[in-house]
């Protein structure tokens, strides 16, 4: 049975079509109130996650992601289909939306003061994101920070937090009541699970926030909290590397990032304790922001 949904995820909306039970069940776990049956809603994009055709669907079935008529990726193993859909949504926004500078980064806020956490896989960024989101902060985005050009304002794009490998067990222990998706095994990022942020984040999903800092987090099991103030030009270059549509926006991308980096605090931290990080953020960063 195939189903048609609408995912209303401001500032974008998606019509989602799928004939895969796993996709449907995970969507309703993760998105709840943002998910509705497709009727007459106006949507930005039509995407689908469907079984591949041919005899193949009976042995080693695969899942295909389509954005309208366009298939940007090769099909993947069936059990990864929900994670694959999440990445497909990221692809869609990155490919077509240029009204914001998009930085591959988590953003969380307390009140209307926001902090950017860009970091590569394996740095413990998503674990930190989940921890903060469940401890009084609100999540604006786990993977795509949308910055209004030439401002320090972030538009939320609330989506689930993508956790990998060891952090799956850690977060399941930390938040036993969290709404988790099924595990997608052996993806290009390893094992992957998606965690829905708490209700406070969803409720504030249209509420912009002002950036006060960028923090590059690094988890090191053997290191107590160490904080380094980052040189502005270093921080700028790191943001350029993480800004996925920087080259498309050209001058606007450059002016947005320079304006941003000159107006906010810039840190790199090493830590082995999430609550230390939270204390640092709340007692130092937000206070001075």
């Amino acid at each position: 049975m195939s189903s048609h949904f609408v995912l209303d995820l401001p500032p974008f909306s998606f019509a989602v079509h799928s004939d895969i039970a796993q996709v449907k069940s995970n969507l309703s776990i993760i998105y709840e109130q943002c998910l509705s049956k497709r009727d007459q809603q106006l949507v930005d994009y039509e995407i689908s996650m469907v079984k591949s055709s041919g005899i193949r669907r009976f042995f080693r079935p695969q899942a295909r992601f389509m954005c309208d008529q366009n298939e940007p990726f090769k099909p993947l193993d069936f059990q990864k289909s929900y994670a694959f859909l999440e990445w497909g949504m990221n692809w869609t926004v990155t490919a077509y939306e240029v009204q914001h500078l998009i930085i591959h980064s988590a953003v969380l806020a307390k009140g209307d003061k926001a902090v950017l956490f860009p970091a590569p896989s394996g740095s413990g960024k998503s674990t930190l994101t989940a921890y903060l989101a469940f401890n009084g902060w609100r999540l604006l985005s786990d993977e795509m920070a949308l910055i209004i050009p030439n401002t320090r304002t972030v538009t939320p794009f609330v989506r689930p937090i993508c956790l990998k490998n060891q952090s799956i067990d850690i977060t399941k222990d930390l938040f036993p009541d969290g709404k988790f998706s099924d595990i997608a095994k052996d993806t290009h990022k390893g094992d992957v699970i998606h965690l829905s942020p708490p209700k406070t984040s969803w409720d504030a999903h249209k509420q912009n926030a002002e950036l006060v800092a960028v923090v590059f987090p690094n988890y090191r099991a053997d290191t107590d909290l160490q904080i380094y103030q980052l040189d502005k030009s270093q921080a700028f270059m790191q943001l350029v590397e993480n800004a996925v549509n920087y080259s498309v926006l050209r001058n606007i991308g450059f002016s947005t990032l320079t304006n941003l980096i000159e107006g906010i605090q810039t840190f790199e931290i090493f830590h082995n304790n999430l609550s230390d990080v939270q204390a640092f953020l709340e007692e130092e960063v937000l206070v001075n922001g």
């Binding site: 007459q40 106006l42 591949s52 695969q62 240029v98 993806t187």
Partner: protein, 369 residues
């Protein structure tokens, strides 16, 4: 009520004032169709030009603005690649000419505004091709993986070599030595086009507007693949209706005669006029009348369907039949019968396997090593 049709989208281009009548749900579908055909930026330009853009709902303007930014970036990117390519290759070839989409952008002609394309097409003299390929290789351009069958097909019968891709920037280049495959027996003496080469404002070699039009219409009507047919027909409309050169039509007719593509010129004039009301000078129409094909009714059936913005939301009745007919006609034009039979058998075997065992049977999964 909220349905759309191919005619609605065609009319939207021809008479942008009809934009005011669309419901938001119709816009949603129109935007999907235009994006699919890489026409969002082109329509944006048209709406701005005709003064209707600012009155459109914010929903539409946002999607059009996105497309405009992406298209402008695309143009700047092509300008960059053109500079790099010209520096590398101009001294190593007898001539190095930009064709199609890239030449539209480089020409500063209205046909280049809002035009998106997936690769850069260039024309070089056949003897230089080997040299060009190795020079590009040194600059990080790698031949795209194609099957052994396709590689042989390109090298032996086609008018181009397999596409090459810039490994860091992802740009794709198609290197041609003629505008149609020599195997068709219809490949013209390229000198006719070389005589028409001009310099773009920034100093790149491109074809004159008339020769550009000729290539555009040959590419459209002497082809088996018309997936981008509607977009190409808009190109022709713009090229034909915005030229300022008094000799434009005369040159176009002469070039069509010299290269043997009078029928294609006839078809181009016919369908741009029928679809967009493009004005074709009386003299040209008269001159082309003798090339009017006997099977015009059949061609009308095919082209009136295939030259529309096809999409699951906007599909003409009998579209698939028209598509099949165009495919057969195109192959018939391009290949002698014995080659065609061989080609269809080889391709048929591959398609049959994919049909039975899944479209991606021959591919590896991306995340398996």
């Amino acid at each position: 009520m909220d349905e759309i049709s191919p005619e609605l989208i065609t009319t939207l281009y021809r008479s942008p004032n009809t934009a005011y009548k669309l419901s938001l749900l119709q816009w949603q579908k129109v935007i999907l169709v235009l994006r699919h055909h890489q026409l969002l930026a082109r329509y944006q330009q048209r709406f701005v030009q005709k003064g209707v853009f600012d009155a459109l709902p914010e929903y539409c303007r946002r999607h059009f603005r996105n497309a405009k930014v992406i298209a402008d970036n695309h143009n700047l990117h092509v300008a960059f690649e053109a500079r790099e390519l010209t520096t590398t290759l101009i001294k190593r070839t007898e001539y190095f000419i930009f064709l199609k989409g890239a030449s539209y952008s480089l020409s500063n002609h209205p046909v280049g505004i809002g035009r998106i394309y997936s690769d850069i097409d260039v024309l070089v003299d056949a003897p230089s091709i080997v040299n060009v390929e190795s020079q590009l290789y040194d600059q990080g351009w790698l031949s795209q993986p194609v099957s052994d069958y396709d590689d042989r097909y390109y090298r032996k019968w086609a008018h181009e070599i397999p596409p090459m891709r810039q490994s860091t920037r992802g740009t794709i280049i198609d290197i041609h030595h003629n505008i149609v495959p020599p195997i068709s027996g219809r490949a013209p003496d390229v000198q006719a086009l070389i005589n028409e080469v001009i310099k773009s404002p920034e100093g790149y070699f491109i074809l004159s507007p008339a020769a550009m039009t000729l290539h555009s219409l040959v590419h459209l009507f002497f082809n088996e693949d018309m997936k981008r047919g509607f977009r190409d027909l808009i190109d022709l409309d713009i090229l034909m209706s915005t030229n300022t050169d008094t000799n434009y039509w005369q040159t176009l007719a002469r070039l069509a005669a010299e290269t043997g593509f009078e029928l294609e010129l006839f078809l181009a004039c016919r369908y741009t006029h029928l679809t967009f009301g493009t004005i074709i000078p009386e003299k040209i129409n008269e001159g082309l009348n003798k090339y009017k094909p006997k099977n015009l009714k059949l061609l009308d059936f095919m082209f009136s369907r295939i030259l529309t913005p096809e999409h699951p939301y906007a599909r003409s009745p009998f579209f698939s039949l028209a598509e099949l007919m165009v495919l057969l006609r195109g192959h018939w034009l391009k290949m002698p019968l014995h080659i065609l039979t061989y080609h269809l058998c080889a391709k048929g075997f591959i398609s049959l396997t994919k049909m039975l065992l899944g479209k991606h049977f021959f591919e590896r999964e991306v995340d398996k090593t």
